[in-house]
């Protein structure tokens, strides 16, 4: 039976790089264009996971487990971050009855 790194290596590394770049760009565009805080949040997660994917791919190709360990840590921290972020969004909603980030311009004054 093939090990997971071997399976990963069945696809050329360039494909992984292209895929994660595409994912990352989608994430960036999402953050820049969307005004709904939840969707912005999801776009951020997308960027995060694009990086995770790249880390896993490189880790397999270079036979270095450090990359995969990073991925685990990032996922754990991201989970905590999501919890906090969602809580903030809930609080925003309670205060201004919307989650449109375009209306969050109170920093100016």
């Amino acid at each position: 039976m093939q090990s997971i790194p071997d399976i990963i290596r069945t696809i050329p590394l360039t494909h992984y790089i292209l895929l994660s770049s595409a994912l990352f760009c989608i994430g960036v565009l999402g953050v820049l264009t969307r005004r709904n805080a939840i969707i912005v949040f999801m776009a951020i997660e997308l960027m995060l996971n694009a990086v995770n994917l790249l880390l896993a791919a490189f880790s397999s190709y270079f036979s270095d487990p450090a990359g995969q360990i990073f991925v685990f840590f990032i996922m754990a921290v991201a989970a905590a971050e999501v919890a906090v972020g969602l809580a903030i969004i809930v609080m925003i909603y309670r205060n201004i009855q919307t989650i449109d980030i375009g209306l969050l311009n109170k920093l100016k004054n």
């Binding site: 980030i101 375009g102 109170k106 100016k108 004054n109």
Partner: protein, 626 residues
């Protein structure tokens, strides 16, 4: 040794107590606290005088400045000269403190006044006790400060404040010269202590001695009110009368003479500077005496007389007659303090009137003041056998052998002195009373605290000549022998004056004839000096002090004012302000524009962040990509 330290320290303690606590102390206590320190210092000085063994003593206090090769110790020096000065300062000082306790008794700033007086005595003692030029300079500046504080003591009046500032600034000009002299001393000898400097000077080392002596003398010109820096002294009469007596007649203004006597080794080796000193003294003496002729403010007359007498002392120094000059410092301290205090007593009785034209006939009302003032007048006029006769004639005798032209001019000055002093005396005390009824009702002899110092000073003014009675009239020349160790060799050769010679008779004539003339004009005829508007011709020019103040105003003050205004309005406003404000305006307007970027919209911030990251990334990867 500790007793020597106590001499300057006691007045300082008095200053601290009175200065810090005067709002809480009653006048009586403040007066006692103020008077005891100079009295105790006087007692200690007498003890020092009696126990002095003839050898100069240095009492180190601390190493003050230690930088590299430079070492300036703080130390006191006890020798013949400083002991004599100690006696004058603390002795006359004590009398004037006693006098002030009555004279200032109606003043609200009584305790403050005594604090300043004590501080003055402290600095004056430091000045004469210092063992080097730097220590002397501390006292020198300190007395200048106290003089400023006391001239402007009644600072509610603007003109008094102006007088105080004038004195301070005039002194600063002289002090600059003095300071440069000290710097040159350091450059030349690496030290400013008397003993080391004078030893090197005597052994023939050191260049620039003339320049150093000249710079030091500039300081003396400021402090001792010599031409051209004398105009502050008459204005200094704005201060309370005891201050005029203590600071501007008896002690501080003689600091310049003290300094020259102290540095005689230096001055002896620069004959051209000594020559200059003599002529400055002569011109000052004549000018002061001439202006004194027609002044009508009793204190102004005494002030110009002080300027003139200081001129005599410098004349004496110019002729290397150090003992005679110092003798005159002493006797002048007695009779001028007496005259000032007497004038104060008159002013007190006349309810603060100082114009002699509004006095007259005070003889019967103020008998003690009258008598003591008369004695002081005789003493300063140089009528034998009073103190002024011996001291002034000793200077004149030296001048006679030094430079006959100076001598004859000095005789003229002496005649002027005699005339204006008798004029003031007669107009004030003789004739008819010319004051208001209110003043007449108020006329009274001053209290005992005022008359006692007058009487003591009068005794010294009469008998002060005995201190240095010349040998040819049977004296033992005590002062000359006493000062001998610190003076150059041969400086004390006693002069024999023949009774029937011109040298002896001319000063006598100069003392008596003008006095008789003054008696004719102001005594028998009872003439009164004319009112301001009626003064004409040359008398007007003299009355207005030869317009020297106006000339200084025109030559120095106006151009400087003009220049300051020019710099203020043109350079400052148009150039500097423009530059500075433009920089400020640019920053302000650009930040005004830049702050518009801070929209507060999160989306925009995020966009800027991504763009910036992209740019940084592109920049970093640039070399790798191409």
């Amino acid at each position: 040794m500790s007793s020597v330290l106590l001499i300057p320290l006691l007045p300082f303690i008095g200053f601290l107590i009175n200065g810090l606590a005067y709002p809480k102390l009653s006048k009586k206590i403040a007066g006692i606290i103020g008077t005891i320190p100079p009295l105790a210092a006087f007692a200690l000085s007498i003890q020092l005088f009696l126990n002095f063994d003839g050898n100069a003593q240095i009492i180190p206090i601390t190493d003050w400045i230690q930088v590299g090769e430079l070492s300036i110790p703080l130390a006191l020096q006890i020798d013949q000269l400083s002991i004599m000065m100690l006696l004058i300062i603390t002795g006359v000082g004590t009398l004037i403190h006693v006098y002030s306790s009555a004279y200032m008794s109606h003043d609200n700033g009584f305790g403050k006044f005594f604090a300043f007086l004590n501080l003055f005595v402290f600095f004056m003692l430091i000045l004469v006790l210092g063992s080097g030029f730097v220590t002397l300079f501390i006292g020198w500046e300190g007395v200048g400060l106290c003089s400023y504080l006391l001239i402007g003591f009644w600072n509610q009046k603007n003109s008094y404040g102006d007088a105080a500032r004038k004195a301070f600034i005039m002194n600063r000009i002289g002090d600059l010269g003095f300071l440069i002299g000290i710097f040159l001393l350091f450059q030349e000898f690496g030290t400013a202590s008397y003993q080391e400097v004078f030893e090197s000077v005597k052994s023939g080392s050191g260049n620039n001695l003339g320049l150093i002596a000249f710079c030091l003398f500039i300081g003396a010109m400021g402090k001792s009110a010599q031409i051209p820096l004398f105009t502050w002294l008459p204005d200094a009469m704005a201060g309370p009368t005891p201050v005029s007596a203590l600071i501007h007649a008896a002690t501080m203004v003689t600091a310049g003479i003290y300094m020259v006597i102290r540095a005689n080794a230096l001055f002896e080796l620069s004959p051209e500077v000594l020559h200059f000193v003599g002529w400055i003294g002569l011109v000052t003496a004549l000018l002061g005496a001439a202006i004194g002729l027609f002044q009508n403010d009793i204190k102004k007359v005494l002030a110009y007389s002080t300027v003139s007498q200081l001129g005599y002392m410098f004349m004496g120094l110019g002729a290397s007659a150090y003992t005679a000059s110092f003798f005159h410092v002493m006797t002048h301290a007695f009779f001028k303090a007496l005259l000032f205090l007497g004038a104060g007593s008159v002013i007190h009785a006349m309810s603060d009137e100082q114009d002699i034209r509004k006095m007259g006939g005070l003889k019967s009302k103020l008998p003690i003041t009258y008598l003591t003032f008369l004695l002081g007048t005789i003493a300063i006029a140089g009528i034998p056998p009073f103190a002024g006769f011996f001291s002034k004639d000793e200077i004149l005798a030296h001048l006679y052998h030094h430079n006959i032209l100076m001598w004859s001019l000095a005789i003229i000055g002496s005649a002027l002195t005699s005339f204006y002093m008798f004029r003031v005396f007669l107009v004030t005390f003789h004739g008819d009373f010319r004051g208001t009824d209110h003043q007449a009702a108020h006329l009274h002899e001053s209290p005992i605290a005022i008359t006692i110092p007058l009487i003591i000073l009068a005794i010294f003014s009469v008998g002060g000549g005995l201190i240095n009675l010349p040998a040819f009239v049977g004296g033992n020349e005590f002062l000359a022998h006493w000062l001998n160790p610190i003076l150059p060799e041969g400086a004390n050769e006693s002069l024999e004056v023949h009774f029937a010679s011109l040298e002896f008779l001319a000063p006598l004539a100069a003392a008596f004839l003008p006095a008789i003339f003054a008696f004719q004009v102001y005594g028998s005829k009872k003439s009164v000096p004319p009112a301001d508007a009626d003064i004409r011709g040359i008398q007007k020019i003299i009355y207005d002090k030869f317009y020297i103040d106006e000339a200084y105003d025109f030559i120095f003050v106006k151009p400087i004012n003009f220049l300051s205004n020019f710099f203020h309005q043109f350079i400052d406003f148009l150039i500097i302000d423009l530059l500075v404000e433009t920089v400020g305006k640019i920053v302000k307007s650009s930040s005004n524009e830049l702050r518009k970027i801070q929209t507060g919209t999160i989306g925009f911030y995020v966009f800027m962040m991504v763009v910036s990251i992209a740019i940084i990334l592109a920049w970093t990867l640039k070399s790798w990509m191409f």
